[in-house]
């Protein structure tokens, strides 16, 4: 079935250093399959490799596995630097029983989420600049709680405001391999709509950005990475 079974010994130079021969690739593929089936969360290549016998190439095994599941009822999907198995989206109708009622997000929360995803890392005052209204604490808290966003690095500007970025959980939920796959991202970028253009002089309407930021700093020391 897998013509490259005995090829594994020949290729990868690192494997040769090992005293023990790595299992054949077909075996490694089975292992990766078992690991991915056993967990609901995405698993990184490193985590897989750590659990597999010495000399295994989890990354290569996944390539084979992914191919094997093409067109099947479940598929092997990439989420950031991790992998998981998910049911094929066209079969969602079978799963009414499994459907989890997600808390309905407010329009403000959805917009805030989109802005963070497309503009990340982005500060609270930048989000407010784009939306033209202040961002309520509750909105950010809700997104944090859902683990769709998290704190990123502080911006190296006066006040060192904290930034927000989206999480692996966000990518997983929306079936995105990484943040670059966001729909329409390229078009937005080439249209210049993702640039941050500070308001000119005395443009109105923006909430007191400074206040917000300095407040945010005081409150978020604990999330420092």
């Amino acid at each position: 079935m897998m013509a490259d079974d005995d090829k594994t010994g020949i290729e990868a130079p690192e494997i040769e250093e090992s005293l023990f021969e790595a299992p054949p690739m077909a075996e490694q593929e089975r292992m990766v399959e078992a690991i991915l089936f056993a967990t609901a969360e995405p698993v990184t290549v490193k985590e897989m490799a750590d659990r597999m016998p010495h000399g295994c190439d989890a990354a290569e095994a996944i390539v084979y596995l992914r191919k094997r599941y093409e067109g099947r009822g479940v598929s092997v999907v990439r989420v950031a630097d991790a992998w998981s198995i998910r049911t094929a989206p066209d079969l969602g109708f079978l799963m009414q029983k499994e459907t989890v009622e997600t808390r309905k997000l407010s329009r403000a929360a959805i917009e805030t989420l989109a802005i963070i995803a497309y503009h990340q890392p982005v500060t609270r005052s930048e989000i407010e600049e784009i939306r033209g209204v202040s961002v309520s604490r509750g909105t950010v808290d809700q997104l944090l709680e859902m683990e769709w966003i998290r704190f990123g690095r502080r911006r190296m500007t006066p006040g060192r405001p904290v930034t927000f970025v989206v999480t692996q959980g966000f990518l997983d939920h929306f079936g995105l391999e990484n943040a670059r796959d966001l729909p329409g991202l390229k078009e937005l970028r080439s249209a210049g709509l993702l640039e941050s253009r500070p308001p000119l002089g005395a443009m109105p309407g923006m909430p007191d950005a400074e206040d917000e930021d300095s407040e945010a700093i005081g409150q978020s020391e604990m999330f420092e990475e």
Partner: protein, 263 residues
Amino acid sequence: MAELEFEEDKPLAVEDRLVAEALIIDVDGYEGPLDLLLTLSRTQKVDLRKISVLALAEQYLKFINEAKALRLELAADYLVMAAWLAFLKSRLLLPPDPTEEGPSGEELAAHLAFQLERLQAMRDSAAKLMARDQMGRDFFARGLPEDVTRIRRVTYTATLLDLMQAYARTRTKDEFRPFVMDRDAIMTLEQALDRMRSLIGYAGDWTGLESYLPEGWETDPARRRSATAANFSASLELAKLGQIEIRQGEAFAPIQIRKRGPE
């Protein structure tokens, strides 16, 4: 709800009317002036990049005036925006004043158009995002995950050097006692005070200070020196406390002490 009183004297497109209607009825439903401006801009039926900011400013100001006429409570930022748009309008209409500083009317208008376009783009993106297949709704994670048991194994290591150092440490631990001065030949003031306090009770008569030296200390010169100094200091201390009296016949004569009587 089909007609609005104040609109009747002006012919308005149905869409305009609907927009105006929505604004008046639901002014609180707008997320700030930018949101309102974006809604108003839709009546221009053009690409946001080709929008007439001047026309938009006029629409906004008209809306604000109407809202005021209806005594609708408008949040301060709506009024700030109105004032600013009035300013922008004048800038756009009047020929540019070369003495004036800051961005030109066109620049301000362009930035406002950019803000509107960007907000609209984010709304479209948000909609696209929410229209994606979502986990738990369209696709699903493993329903019956297996427990991955975590085994924590601790291995301890030590090197031969560690071992030898440890041995050396135990065999020479007396050498490694905390640092203190070696006081074999030293008598402290405290020691002398303790000693003299206990002895003084027996000495009603004048006695030479030397006789208070502890036994064995008078032979070793180093010890004798230290003990003498300590005793002398102690006697001064006791005298100060009024417990003894001190006398010395002349310079370098023996010092004598006695217990102070209860006068």
